[in-house]
Symmetry: C2
Subunit: 413 residues, 2 copies
Amino acid sequence: MVKIAILSTGDEVLSGQIADTNAAWIADFLLGQGFQPVLHLAVGDDLERIVAALELARQNADAVLATGGLGPTEDDLTTAAVCRFAGLGAVLNKRALSMMQERFRLIGREMSPSNRKQALLPEGAGLLENPIGTAAGYHLQVRGVYYFFMPGVPREMTLMMEQQVLPVLSLLRRERMVFRQRVFRTFGLTESGLGEILSAVPLPEGVKLGYRAVFPEIQVKLVARAVSAELAEQALEQVAPRFREKVGPFIYSEDGRSLPAVVGDLLRARKRKLAVAESCTGGLIAKMITDLPGSSDYFERGHVTYSNAAKIELLGVAPELIERHGAVSSEVARAMAEGARVKAGVDVVLAVTGIAGPAGGSPEKPVGTVHIAIADADGTVEQKFLFPRPERELVRELAAYAALDLLRRRLEQ
Amino acid sequence: MVKIAILSTGDEVLSGQIADTNAAWIADFLLGQGFQPVLHLAVGDDLERIVAALELARQNADAVLATGGLGPTEDDLTTAAVCRFAGLGAVLNKRALSMMQERFRLIGREMSPSNRKQALLPEGAGLLENPIGTAAGYHLQVRGVYYFFMPGVPREMTLMMEQQVLPVLSLLRRERMVFRQRVFRTFGLTESGLGEILSAVPLPEGVKLGYRAVFPEIQVKLVARAVSAELAEQALEQVAPRFREKVGPFIYSEDGRSLPAVVGDLLRARKRKLAVAESCTGGLIAKMITDLPGSSDYFERGHVTYSNAAKIELLGVAPELIERHGAVSSEVARAMAEGARVKAGVDVVLAVTGIAGPAGGSPEKPVGTVHIAIADADGTVEQKFLFPRPERELVRELAAYAALDLLRRRLEQ
C-alpha cells in the first residue's frame, strides 16, 4: 500500500485555534481509496519548521499531502519552504496567474500585487487548479517522494483532492486498482449490534466493511477494490441487498443524504405538509428540518410548547390530561400531535415530549424518558423511548433523531 | 520559552474518523500558560511508529504531551512503545492499581484481568492520577526531554492537564512566572475592527492580546504573565476597564458564559418570561435557548411560523401587512413580536423574519436580509440587518446571534 503522510501548516492549527479537520478528511478520503495514512504532522507558519516537516514526512511516507500556507501574505511560507527543501527556484506559472486574474474578475475585486506571489511555483511543479479560490496548488517529486500542496480552505482543498490530486496519486499505486465505496447511514442500532448482524454476511474478494459512529448515527461503509469501476460496483451490488435484508429498516440513506433530507424528500414526493410540536427538543427538530433549502415546500409551522400553558393554548391539549398523566406521557404526546394537526390544518404532525434533564426526572419517569407521536390521515401512532445516557444534549439529539426516523418509517409505509 | 510537541496516538485519529481536538485543546491551553507548541504529530496504534514518533518529538521539543493508547486492549501500545523507546521495563504501580480497583467498585463493574495492564508503568515514571476513568497517566524524563502520557478521552485528558500536568510542566520554565487570562466574548464587530480599536489601548508589561474567531463571535483574549497570581490579575484589571470603555456594548461576557446563557440569566434576574417567533431561523433561536438546563424558568414558548398562514393564525399578523410589505419587512417583524406578546401573555417577545436563501432573494431584498423585532412593556423596537455572506447556514446563525444580542442589550438597559 502507498504510505501517506499528511502535513498541515499554519499557526491556527498549531496553536489550537482550530482542530485539524483537513487532516481527518484527507485521511478518511484516502483510506477509502486504498491508501494508507501513516503520519499526521502540523507545524506553524515558520520556514525552518516547515522545511523540517517536509523532510520528516519524506522519511515516513511515499507521498505527502500538505495543506495551508499558499496565500498572499508574509505568513504564507509553504512555497518558500518547498524551494529551500528541494533546492529549487520559484517561477511564474502563467496558467496559475491567468486563473487567479479570472477569479478576481469574477468576484469583482481588484487583484493586489501581493497576490502575484501565489502564481510563483517551484520550478518543474505541476499545477493543481483551484476553480473556487485564488490559491493554486501544485505537485512535485522530491528525492523519490511525491508531494502535493493544497490550500487550507476546506472546500477548496476537498475539491482539489477529489478532482485533481486523486488521479495523480493513483498513478503511484503499483496495481491499477479502482476503489468504490457505499455508505449506509443508519439510526437505531449500536455499532456492536450492527457488527453482530452484518458479520454474518459473506463479503466477496476485495470488499471491506467498516463502521463509523457519528453520534447519533452509525455509518456502515463498504469499500470494494477491483481492476475496474464496473467490477467494484458489481461487488458492492452483491452485498448491498444482503445488508438491506438484515438491517433494512435501520438504514435511512445509501446516497449520503441526511435524515432530515430523506424525510423532506418523502414529504415532498407525497405532497404532505408537516407541522411539529416540540417540548423537550425545544426547536431542535424544526431547526434540523429548516436547515435545508426548500424546506418551505413541506414544512408549515413549528410549535415549541415548553410550558403547559403553551401546550393547552396552542395545541388544544386538555388540562385534565396533563393533570392526570403528566406533560411527559403517551396521552399528552398523542394530544399534542392530534391537536396541532387540527389547528394547523396540515397532513402530518410530529410531536415530542420528554425529560431532557438534568432536573425533572423521577423514579417512574427518569431523565431520558421521551414520548413521540405522529398524527396523520391514517390515525395516530405513539412510541415511548428511554435513552440511556442522561446528558441533556444527548437526550435532545437522540429524541430529535428518533422522531425524524419514526416519521421516515411512517412515510415509507 | 519551553517548546512543546503534541503527540496523538490511535487509529481513529490517524484514519480521520475523528479530528484531533485533543491536540487543539492542549495547544490552546498551553499557549495560555506561556508555553510554545511547535509540532503536532499523530500516528496509529502501531508500536514501531509510536517509538519513531517519540523520537521525532524529542528532537523538536523540550516537553512532549502525548494522548491515547493507555487502555486495556491489545491495540493500546503506548506503554510498550515508551518502554522500548526509553529502554525501560514496565512495573506494577500499586497506587494506579488500587485507584483503578476503586473506580470499578464505584461504577459497579467487575475489573477484568486485562485492566491490570493499565497499572503497569515504565520504571521510574511518576503517576498522573485519573479520578474519572480507569486509564492512569504518567510522566518521565527520557534523554533530557520530559514526556507526559495521558488518556485519549477528552474530559479525562483535560482534567489531568489542568490538575496534574500543568504543575509539573511549570517546573520546566526557568522563570517562575504565573499566567492568568481573561476572555472577552464579543459579537457584532469583525476581528480587524476590534483590532483597530483595541490596539490603541496600551498594555502593561507582561500582558499579551490575542483574537480568536469562533463564528459568529470574536473572542478577545488577554494573557498576563507575572511573578504572582495577584500581580497577573492586577495587570488584567488595569486593561479590562479600557476595553469595556472602547467596545463595551459588543462584549457579552467576560466569565465564559455563552450568549444564550447571558440572555437567560438577565431574563431570570428580571423575572421576565420570553416567547420567540421565528421565520427564517426556523427554530434555531428556541433551540439555542433551550439547550440550557433551567431555561423553562424564563422560556415560555416558541413559534416557528414558516408559512404566511402560520404568521397570520398563530401571531395575528394582518394579511394586508404581508401583502403590502412582504413577509420579510420591518412591519411584519413588529407585528409578529407584538402579536405573539398578546397571544402568549409573556413579558417579552423576540421575532425574526428574513431571507436565508439560497432562493427567495430579490434586488430590493437580497438573501441575507433579516428583520429582528423585540416587543416588551416599553414598546417595540425593530432593526434591519443585511448579512454579507449569502450562505443559508451563515445567515441563519448570524440572525440568531444578532437577535439574542439585541435582546441582551435591551434587557441590560
